[in-house]
């Protein structure tokens, strides 16, 4: 958990309405785990007031353009422009500065390398899965299932393929890959195999819920990365909580998405 000023190195559209931003980061960022996230303050003033959370999409280092410079580490965020904060983000250029907290939260547990790793992402939920995939492929067989509404919402296919990962795509309108829900594609794929597997999912809540159900049915362990409205990102405001499996009014079991998550074992969550 570090608080630092970061310089924008590049910021480019990757698909209509989606962009990837590369941000300088202190050396220690290299210890960040897939699934951890960052909180970005997009304005120095009060509009917008709060930081915005984003998963880590990638980490790396580059050689600055001046002589004898040490390698500079960076992190990347893949984001979708949905409102004021992401609109401001999308207007930034090389050389602009941002204020960042990172890395926050828990990451994915990578588990036994023998297992086949099934990654399922919807839209911008792909972001942390790409970072995860880069690490997993070193030791495991990995498959990724990418879903979205239209073909514009399908991100990073090339990047996953470049990692040598089997990539399955589904869109609601059939403009890319199979027509239908990515969870259906994934489930039929699960049916055609019997390796020991585990699932890693990130995306909209209904998708995660469906993935949790599938993993339950097939008895496959499953981690999900949740989203929530966040104020602090550090476990202090209790704004981002989600109900744990055993939650009740009498014996409250709320977990902070920011601190106890954003990644949870799907069986730990109360799916409503």
């Amino acid at each position: 958990m570090r608080h630092f000023k970061s310089m924008v190195v590049l910021n480019e559209e990757v698909s209509p309405g989606y962009a990837r931003i590369r941000l300088t980061a202190p050396r220690v960022i290299m210890r960040a785990k897939p699934g951890q996230f960052v909180m970005i303050r997009v304005s120095e003033g009060i509009d917008p007031l709060l930081r915005r959370p984003f998963g880590i999409y990638d980490l790396g280092s580059f050689m600055p353009e001046y002589p004898d410079a040490p390698l500079q580490d960076y992190l990347e965020v893949l984001y979708k422009v949905v409102g004021k904060g992401t609109r401001i983000l999308s207007s930034l250029h090389h050389g602009d500065y941002l204020d960042i907290l990172a890395p926050l939260g828990t990451g994915f547990t990578q588990g036994n390398p023998e297992e086949e790793k099934i990654l399922v992402g919807g839209g911008v939920g792909l972001a942390p899965l790409y970072f995860l995939a880069k690490q997993l492929v070193k030791k495991s067989k990995v498959k990724v299932f990418i879903g979205g509404r239209r073909k514009e919402d399908i991100l990073s296919v090339t990047e996953f393929e470049r990692l040598g990962i089997d990539t399955y795509v589904a869109t609601d309108d059939g403009t890319l890959g199979a027509m239908g829900l990515v969870t259906e594609v994934m489930e039929s794929n699960l049916a055609n195999g019997d390796a020991k597997r585990s699932i890693f999912a990130c995306g909209p809540l209904p998708m995660l819920k469906s993935v949790a159900g599938i993993s339950e049915r097939w008895g496959v362990s499953c981690q999900v990365s949740l989203e929530a409205n966040m104020a602090c990102g550090v476990g202090a405001c209790l704004g981002c909580v989600t109900k744990g499996r055993n939650h009740s009014e009498q014996t409250p079991d709320y977990r902070c998405v920011c601190k106890d998550g954003p990644v949870f074992d799907s069986r730990e969550i109360m799916w409503e």
Binding site: R51, D99, C237
Partner: protein, 305 residues
């Protein structure tokens, strides 16, 4: 020049500077230790505590609004037993006074909490939340009725010799009347303001954004209201005042002191910059140096009308 004196004292609580962190926005201190040195702060006020653990409200619990945010956490907290067992050990090692904010559903609960906290040596003072607008039984009735406030404070007073700070709600016609009732009940200090009840709506969904429908407004948007109330109360009541509401920098903090606050609490700003409380202490010192002020206490109530 000699370093200016930033220390202040409120009801016997000696603080190295006037910058405290506000209840509910700073967890139990620990969450912020990666971002600042807790031993540079004036005092830490912990998350509102109740006798039993509380689940709080369903989600969404927070939403951003223009220049502020609404929260309807619903006073989720671990309850006094877990607090003493799990949170006090960390706080014990700090060199900064710890003030425990708490609330009850009844006068008896307030009194019982006070009696129990009175026995905890790590607790430098108690801040009674009579003002949280989030929960039906979270004290709203006490916070807007001077008689009820008097009764609660009186009951707490009988249970403890530790300093009692009463935290006032801005959701009232006459904050001075509330302050006076607390003074009469022998409170040692007042902190103000708590959040203002507000609401946000999601047009497309035709629903309130917060599951709880309404929530408490905090942040810079609130500052003019908070300053006004601090100023009004400081002129009418002799108790020391802790100013709260929308403070994001040292200038804001010093403005509250001019208006009559002996110390301030930083709330929402902790979310925007987790190191802000320490930075405010540093910038406050710089301001004093630059302006040749040797003692921050000179500024308390120094507003010229």
């Amino acid at each position: 020049m000699k370093k200016p004196d930033l220390s202040v004292e409120i009801a016997g609580i000696k603080m190295r500077n006037p910058v405290m962190t506000a209840s509910g926005t700073f967890g139990y201190g620990e969450e912020f230790s990666p971002y600042l040195d807790l031993d540079t702060l004036g005092a830490i006020v912990t998350k509102g505590l109740s006798l039993a653990p509380r689940a709080g409200n369903p989600t969404p619990r927070i939403v951003e609004t223009p220049g502020g945010m609404l929260n309807a956490i619903g006073l989720q907290n671990v309850g006094i037993d877990a607090f003493i067992e799990k949170k006090i050990p960390f706080l014990r090692n700090l060199n900064t006074p710890v003030i425990v904010n708490f609330f009850g559903n009844s006068i008896d609960e307030y009194a019982e909490l006070a009696a129990r906290l009175d026995l905890v040596p790590e607790v430098a003072a108690m801040e009674i939340n009579i003002s949280c607008p989030n929960v039906k039984h979270g004290g709203i009735a006490f916070g807007v009725d001077p008689k009820a406030a008097f009764s609660v404070v009186k009951a707490v007073r009988e249970m403890t010799i530790k300093p009692i700070i009463v935290k006032l709600s801005p959701n009232v016609t006459d904050i001075v009347e509330m302050a006076q009732a607390c003074a009469e009940a022998d409170a040692d200090a007042l902190s103000l303001i708590n959040t203002l009840t507000g609401m946000a709506i999601d047009l497309d969904k035709r629903k309130p954004v917060l599951a709880n429908v309404t929530g408490g407004l905090s942040g810079p948007a609130l500052k003019p209201l908070a300053l006004r109330m601090v100023w009004q109360v400081s002129r009418a009541v002799k108790l020391p005042i802790i100013g709260i509401g929308g403070i994001t920098n040292a200038i804001d903090a010093l403005e509250f002191m001019l208006a009559g606050a002996t110390a301030v609490q930083i709330g929402t700003a902790n979310f925007i910059n987790p190191g802000i409380a320490q930075k405010i202490t540093e910038d406050m010192e710089l301001y004093l140096v630059k302006n040749g002020i040797t003692d921050v206490k000179e500024l308390v109530g120094a507003l010229e009308i």
